[in-house]
């Protein structure tokens, strides 16, 4: 009899334990959040975790690293099967897609109450990539944009001690470089057609909206886009830029071998250029913000980077927000930069000597003050990667006239946007 009583008492212990935990505080109970990050970010963010655990011993972060190349498919498949993690990283051009999917949480309230994250501490152009129809859906984690990497020695031989600041000067410098080399196999600038960014950047600089009527039709045949497009295609036509893309399997090596002297690209290239430009070449390269055609230097560039977003269905909103706040602290942002060279999204972090004294970084800092988001619609990726690149390649190869190419581009894009127009009209009917 007695033994039985003791046994039942024994059984009660875990229950009592649970009750006692519950009664103290909800936050105190241990929470595990799942966090998906891409590629190197996923690996290196784990090194920041000990610091996070020191402050929040009750939150455990389970980081899963997914490869960049398959990230979007993985995330969307995870959404379809209801397996999205609590918190994940998104390329900021993907945010509109996940908003269209209704997969991520509106963060307006969170930012309003948070004393650690405020809109003013971020670069304006970058922040706005996360704002869809007036609501915030992501917090910038790290940023990137496109600037020009150039060979100082070759440009100064062409008479440019400073990087050209206007479209006209850029063309002029390119012609002089080509003339100085006097070699079919040496080019001034590399504008590969499998990188849509340059084509969009120059169009944005020329005040093209890229799309029109609430982003529901293409605006490619418009004067603004056409002028920018013609300007870039002309580099290929004059032999200032190589036409094919498979000649350049290693951009850095080609840059070191004078195959081309200017290249528009992003911050992830800096460590690579440092590795390839050694010995005599070590101080012969530089970075410069984008030239412009309006007289205001620098001209605009892309607002790139990655954002942190929260799964709409998460049960751990609070813990996820804590982790976002932690990753947004200036010291943590600097630490992350030293780990994998991801540029901090928080402006204050740029005052750190590590970045302020880096001669290659200053061009980026200047550029981030003038960056523009690409059209914030779910279809953008398809338009940019498949259509813009496809028609840029056709234009470079000169199979059709530019006029015809841009009309075809518009037609294709209008077809892609048909669904969007239908959804918009459906929404209007409701309102």
């Amino acid at each position: 009899m007695f033994t039985k009583f003791y046994i039942s008492l024994f059984k009660l212990i875990p229950l009592l334990f649970l009750l006692s935990c519950h009664s103290t505080n909800d936050v105190e109970s241990r929470v595990k959040i799942k966090f998906w990050a891409m590629g190197a970010e996923g690996e290196y963010v784990q090194k920041l975790l000990p610091q996070f655990y020191k402050r929040y011993p009750n939150i455990e972060v389970d980081v899963q690293s997914i490869p960049w190349t398959a990230a979007q498919e993985k995330l969307i498949s995870a959404f379809a099967s209801d397996n999205l993690p609590d918190l994940f990283q998104l390329g900021n051009t993907w945010v509109p897609q996940f908003v269209a999917l209704d997969a991520i949480m509106n963060l307006d309230e969170f930012i309003e109450v948070s004393d650690k994250i405020s809109r003013e501490s971020y670069f304006e152009g970058i922040w706005s990539t996360n704002v869809i129809d007036g609501s915030l859906f992501g917090v910038p984690w790290y940023v990137d944009t496109r600037i020009v990497f150039y060979r100082k020695d070759i440009l100064s031989r062409a008479g440019y001690d400073k990087f050209p600041e206007t479209w006209d000067d850029l063309l002029d410098a390119s012609r002089k470089i080509k003339k100085n080399f006097n070699d079919v196999d040496k080019y001034a600038i590399y504008l590969p057609t499998n990188e849509w960014a340059s084509f969009i950047i120059f169009a944005l600089q020329n005040n093209s909206g890229i799309l029109k009527e609430n982003n529901s039709y293409g605006a490619f045949r418009g004067k603004e886009f056409r002028e920018a497009f013609e300007y870039l295609i002309n580099f290929h036509k004059e032999g200032l830029a190589p036409i094919g893309i498979s000649q350049v399997t290693n951009v850095y090596q080609a840059f070191a071998e004078n195959y081309f002297s200017m290249y528009i690209s992003g911050p992830w290239n800096i460590p690579e250029f440092n590795k390839w430009m050694t010995g005599e070449l070590a101080d012969k390269w530089g970075t410069a913000p984008m030239p412009s055609n309006t007289g205001n230097y620098p001209g605009t560039s892309l607002a790139g980077g990655a954002s942190l977003v929260i799964n709409k269905k998460t049960k751990n909103t609070n813990a996820s927000q804590k982790f976002i706040e932690f990753l947004s602290e200036p010291e943590i942002q600097i630490k992350f930069y030293t780990l994998i060279n991801d540029l901090p999204a928080v402006k204050v972090a740029w005052e750190d000597s590590l970045l302020a004294n880096n001669k290659y970084m200053q061009a980026f800092f200047k550029q981030f003050h003038n960056v523009t988001a690409t059209p914030k619609i779910a279809e953008w990726e398809q338009i940019a990667f498949s259509k813009v690149q496809q028609y840029a390649e056709e234009a470079v190869r000169g199979t059709k006239s530019i006029e015809d190419i841009l009309i075809s581009l518009d037609n294709d894009v209008d077809k892609i946007l048909e669904k969007r127009r239908w959804l918009l009209s459906k929404k209007n009917d409701k309102d």
């Binding site: 969307i76 897609q97 269209a100 498979s246 000649q247 498949s386 496809q390 190869r397 077809k415």
Partner: protein
């Protein structure tokens, strides 16, 4: 049907049930679902809210007919199947004949070497071949250079990229068919050759009148399997060229993948899948018919 027979049948169904239900759940249901989806404009907006999908009837199929990119993909795929298919079968047959010859020594080593590309991951092979084809540092251009031929940008030239991929996939795949051909060759009774030799038939006559006719069932099997496999060309262009330059290596499956899993136009992508299914089905029927006609003639 008596009782015991009926019982036997029930037992058979009972044992088949797990496999059949797995096939039903994981094969037939998705196929039927895909068939329905191909009549809708199911896309990224519909993933979260099914009411955003519209029934569009045959619109996907009609726009497929009007889509120049689809025709390009179809043209590339047919070119690939028509050139690479027979080429790969001929190479496999030649390799099998060589390895089956009594004069060859170290047969197993050769068999292993020829089979090695088949078991190597396609991704790894594609990356290596990208180096081989490299216009500046590639070994292929180095060899051409020795003969005084200027280096060629294999994967960058719209006219050469697909032939370059054909060359690679023939090399990669011939080992598999070769093994099947060897098995077929070993099944040909020796006495046929002995009789032919007594009659004074030359090697070529033996090849023409004994080996090739006796291999007919094997060849049919191989040609169908190869054709079906080659119609599904995907990984080679996906890794080596991403369908470029100017879509000269875009295959139907690559196009389907891009539409479905990169841009999430599931309806359109499903329509491509069914068109491809019909093409493969018809091509297989034709092959069966041709074989039957051949047999009748003989």
């Amino acid at each position: 049907m008596n009782f015991s027979q009926k019982n036997k049948l029930t037992a058979a169904y009972f044992f088949l049930a797990p496999a059949l239900s797995a096939i039903f759940v994981f094969f037939f249901i998705p196929v039927i679902a895909a068939f329905f989806i191909s009549f809708t404009d199911f896309d990224i907006y519909s993933l979260s809210n099914y009411s955003n999908a519209r029934f569009v009837g045959l619109k996907n199929y009609i726009s497929l007919i009007e889509d120049p990119l689809f025709w390009q993909a179809l043209k590339n795929t047919f070119f690939y199947v028509i050139i690479a298919g027979p080429l790969s079968i001929i190479v496999s047959l030649l390799a099998a004949l060589l390895l089956n010859s009594k004069l060859v020594r170290f047969k197993s080593i050769f068999r292993l070497t020829y089979f090695l590309p088949v078991v190597t991951t396609l991704i790894a092979v594609s990356i290596i071949w990208r180096f081989i084809y490299h216009p500046k540092f590639g070994i292929l251009n180095y060899l051409l250079d020795l003969f005084g031929i200027n280096s060629i940008d294999w994967l960058g030239d719209p006219n050469l990229a697909l032939p370059a991929i054909i060359l690679m996939s023939v090399w990669k795949n011939f080992g598999y068919n070769m093994i099947i051909f060897i098995a077929g060759l070993q099944n040909i009774p020796e006495y046929l050759y002995e009789a032919a030799e007594l009659e004074g038939a030359s090697y070529w006559q033996q090849l023409k009148s004994i080996t090739i006719p006796m291999l007919a069932p094997t060849t049919l099997f191989i040609s169908i399997i190869t054709m079906i496999g080659f119609f599904q060309l995907f990984a080679e262009p996906y890794v080596m060229t991403q369908g470029g330059p100017i879509n000269s290596t875009l295959s139907v499956v690559l196009y389907m993948y891009n539409e479905g899993f990169r841009w999430w136009n599931m309806g359109y992508s499903a329509a491509i899948a069914f068109v491809l299914f019909i093409i493969i089905f018809v091509a297989t029927l034709i092959q069966f018919k041709v074989q039957k006609v051949n047999e009748a003639i003989e």
